[in-house]
Amino acid sequence: MKQIFLLCTLSLGLCFLQSSCTDLPSSNEIFTDNFDRKAMLIDWADLIIIPSFDKYYEALLTLDEQEEEFKLNNSETNFNNLKGAYLDAYISWQKVSMFDIGKAEEIGLRNFTNIYPTNVEAIENNITEKSYNLALPSNFVAQGFPALDYLLYGIGSTENEIRTKLAEQNYQIYLTELVDRLLSLTDQVRNDWKHRYRDVFVNSDGSSATDSVDKMVNDFLYYYEKFLRAGKIGIPAGIFSGNTMANSSEAPYSKIHSKQLFLAGLQATKDFFSGTGINQDYIGESIASYLQNRMEETEGPDLAQEILNQWNIVEGLTADLSNTFVDQINTDNTKMLAIYDELQKATIIMKVDMMQALNIQVDYVDADGD
C-alpha cells in the first residue's frame, strides 16, 4: 500500500512538473538538488564530530588520571575529584553518542558505553568471579557509565561506605577495567576518524542509502528516537510499559545527574541539527540549512524552524523538572509525560516530513520487541 501511494505521489508530482515547467532538466536529474552535501559532511566531521570525540577522549583521560589518584589514596577529596571527572566524561559522551557510524558502529561503542539500566547482579558477579569477558553482549549491562554510576554511588548506603568499599582490591580492579575499556574503545574510534574515516565519510557525498548523508541522518534520527526520547524520558516515565520505571532512568544511583545528562543530549541534538560547532562559535552546513534549501526550492513549510521550536518548548518544560528524574517520576510523572509528548511531536515532523523533504529513506524498523 505504502509503495503504491508513493508511486502515485511521484507520478502526480511528475505530471505536475512536466505541465508546469518548460525548461525541465533531463529526467534523471529531476530528483537531485543543488545543496552542497560535501560541504555539510566536511562541517559535520571537522566542526562537530572529530572535536567532540577529542573532547570526550580528553575527559576520559582526566577520569583515568583521577581514578589512578584514587587508587593511590582514597581520600574524600580524591573521591570527589573522581566523581567530578566521571560526570564530565558522561556529559561529553552525550555529545558523541549519536555518531554511531564508522568505527563506532563497527565496534559497538554505544553498547559498551551507555546501556542502562545496568545490571547490579552481573556487575557483582563479575567482581566476585574475576573471570569475565567485557566484550560479550551479555556484559553490555555490566560496564560503561551506568556501571560506573553504580560503583561510585550505589555500592554502599553512605558516601564513606562507598569510598571505602571502592578502595577494596576487587572493586578497584573492576573500576580500573571499566575506565580503561572506555578509554581504549574511544581511542580506536577517534583515531579512525582522524587517520582514515574522515575522508571516507566526506567523500561518500552521494544521495544513496549507503552514502554518508543518508546514513548519518538516519543515525541522528535513531539516536533521537531511541536514546534521547525513549531512553532518557519515555521508558522511565512508563510510556511503553504502562508502569513508571524510575530505576530505568539514566544514572539512577547518583540520582542528581539525570536531568543534566538529558539536557546535554538535547543540546547535542540541537547543535548537530543546526550545525553549531563544539564551542558554539561557528555555524556550518547542517540538516537545518539543507531543509532551508529544500524549503526555498519547493516553497514548503519551514520544517527546520518547526523542529527547533519543539526543542525550545522541551527545554522550557525542563525548567520545572527536578534534577533527579527518579524523584520527578515518583512524585509527579505528568511533567515527564508532557516532555515526552513534545519530544514525540518533533519525532513525527522529522521522521515523516523532514525525511521526505530530504528524500532520505528511514533505514531502520521498530524492532517487534521479541
Binding site: M1, G108, L136, F140, D370
Partner: protein, 404 residues
C-alpha cells in the same frame, strides 16, 4: 474502524440471508443467533470450554522461556515438553502448580491432527523429534558456550542491538526455532487440521447428538466442544475470552502473531475476520446449520494459514534487509523466528482440500537452504528473497505487502 463496521454489516447480511433461506435437503429454516461476543449458553450456563488448550499454551510458554534460563537442565526441559519423565513417570517441571497437576502435555499434541497425521505417524514422529532435538541441542551446544562470542561455526552470544542473543554454530536461536515451530505444529495443526475438520466435528453421532442437543459430561455437545477447542488454541489465554480482540497479543504464540499481522495496514481486519468466523461457526453449530459451520471453517483455514505465511515472509525479509546492512545479530534473530515460521508452513491448510499449502519436501527444501553450510553466517539475501517469493506465490499477498 470503517472496516470493522463493514464486516459487521456483511455478517448481518449473511444472517438475514440465511434466516429467509431454506436448507436444500430438509427444507427447514435455520435460525442462527450470532452473538456479539464468543459466549454461548444452555439453560443459563456457558457451554464454552477450552481449559486444555489454555493449559498447553501455558506449558509451551514456560518451556520456551526456560530454554534461555541457563539454570535449566536438559531433563527439566524435556519434562516440560512431555510433562512426564523419559520413563513415563509423572513429573513436576513447571513453576505453575496447575500445570504440574495436569495430565496434558505439549508433545502429545505436536503434529497430532486427525487429518494430517493419523495415518502419517512417520512424519509426526519426525516432527516431535525435531522439536526435541532443538531443546536438546540448546543444552548441549549453546549452554556450554553461553559466555563465548559466537562466530562462524561456533555457538555463543551475538549482539542484536543492545540484547545478547544465544545462537548455535549456524546462527540459529533454538528457543526461537522451538517457539515459532510450535505455533504451526501445535496451534495451527490442532485448529486447522483437527478441530475444524469434519472428520473430528462429525465423528460418530456428533451431528445427530448436536442437533438433538445431547450433552455429555459438560454442558456442551461434543461438536460444540470440538469447535471451542479450536478457538482455545488461538484465544485461550485472552484476558476476556469472550471478547479477545480487545486485548490481542495475550500469548507468545499464534495470538501474538495474529496481532502483528493485523497491525500491518495491508492485512488490517484479519483478526476481526477470524474472530467472526469462529463465532458465526459456533452459532451455526448451535443452530444445527452444518453448511454454514463448514463455510466458516474454510475461512478460518484460509486466514490462519495466511498468518503463518505472512509472518514467515516478514521475517525472511527482515533478515534479508539486516544481512544487507551487515547487522548480523539482528539478521540472525529475524531468521531464527523465520526458521520457525517456515517450519510451521507444513501445518497450513488449504480450505478446499485435505492438503497443506506446502509439502514436507517443500518445507524441508526451504529449511535446507536456510541452514546449508555455516547456516545464517553465509546466507545470501537472494536466497531469502527466493524463498519469500515461493511462499507468497501460493497466496494472494505479495512479498512487499508482508515485508513491512
Amino acid at each position: 474502524m470503517k472496516r470493522r463496521q463493514t464486516s459487521k454489516i456483511l455478517t448481518l447480511l449473511v444472517i438475514t440471508g440465511l434466516l429467509s433461506s431454506c436448507d436444500k435437503d430438509s427444507g427447514s429454516t435455520f435460525t442462527v443467533e450470532n452473538p456479539v461476543n464468543y459466549e454461548f449458553l444452555r439453560n443459563g450456563s456457558s457451554t464454552v470450554s477450552f481449559d486444555g488448550q489454555t493449559t498447553r499454551i501455558s506449558m509451551a510458554t514456560e518451556l520456551t522461556a526456560a530454554m534461555t534460563d541457563f539454570d535449566s537442565n536438559l531433563e527439566s526441559l524435556l519434562e516440560m515438553y512431555a510433562n512426564q519423565s523419559a520413563s513415563g513417570d509423572d513429573v513436576n517441571p513447571f513453576a505453575q502448580a496447575s500445570l504440574n497437576e495436569s495430565t496434558k502435555s505439549v508433545k502429545s499434541k505436536v503434529a497430532a491432527s486427525a487429518d494430517f497425521f493419523s495415518t502419517n505417524t512417520v512424519e509426526a514422529a519426525k516432527i516431535k523429534a525435531d522439536i526435541e532435538s532443538w531443546i536438546t541441542a540448546q543444552v548441549n551446544e549453546v549452554y556450554p558456550n553461553r559466555n563465548e562470542l559466537a562466530s562462524e561455526g561456533k555457538a555463543g552470544q551475538i549482539a542484536d542491538g543492545t540484547s545478547a542473543r544465544y545462537v548455535n554454530a549456524k546462527g540459529l536461536e533454538y528457543n526461537q526455532a522451538v517457539a515459532k515451530s510450535l505455533i504451526g505444529a501445535l496451534m495451527v495443526d490442532q485448529i486447522c487440521n483437527n478441530y475444524l475438520s469434519t472428520a473430528v466435528l462429525d465423528e460418530n453421532q456428533n451431528q445427530q447428538e448436536n442437533t438433538d442437543g445431547i450433552t455429555g459430561e459438560g454442558n456442551y455437545t461434543t461438536m460444540e466442544h470440538k469447535w471451542d477447542e479450536a478457538y482455545g488454541y488461538l484465544f485461550g489465554k485472552s484476558t476476556d475470552t469472550g471478547n479477545p480482540l480487545a486485548t490481542l497479543g495475550d500469548d507468545e504464540f499464534l495470538n501474538k502473531y495474529l496481532s502483528r499481522v493485523n497491525d500491518d495496514s495491508d492485512f488490517n481486519g484479519i483478526a476481526e475476520e477470524i474472530f467472526e468466523a469462529f463465532k458465526l461457526g459456533r452459532a451455526a453449530i448451535v443452530a444445527g446449520d452444518y453448511d454454514l459451520r463448514d463455510q466458516q471453517a474454510e475461512i478460518l483455514k484460509q486466514k490462519i494459514s495466511e498468518v503463518i505465511a505472512i509472518r514467515a515472509v516478514f521475517y525472511l525479509q527482515c533478515g534479508s534487509r539486516a544481512l544487507e546492512a551487515d547487522d548480523l545479530g539482528g539478521a540472525f534473530h529475524d531468521l531464527s523466528e523465520g526458521f520457525g515460521f517456515v517450519y510451521s508452513l507444513r501445518f497450513t491448510r488449504k480450505s478446499d482440500s485435505n492438503d497443506s499449502y506446502f509439502s514436507r519436501a517443500e518445507v524441508d527444501g526451504f529449511i535446507d537452504r536456510l541452514t546449508a553450510g555455516n547456516g545464517f553466517w553465509d546466507l545470501d539475501a537472494n536466497i531469502l528473497n527466493e524463498i519469500s517469493e515461493q511462499i507468497a506465490e501460493k497466496f494472494e499477498f505479495t512479498v512487499a505487502q508482508a515485508a513491512n
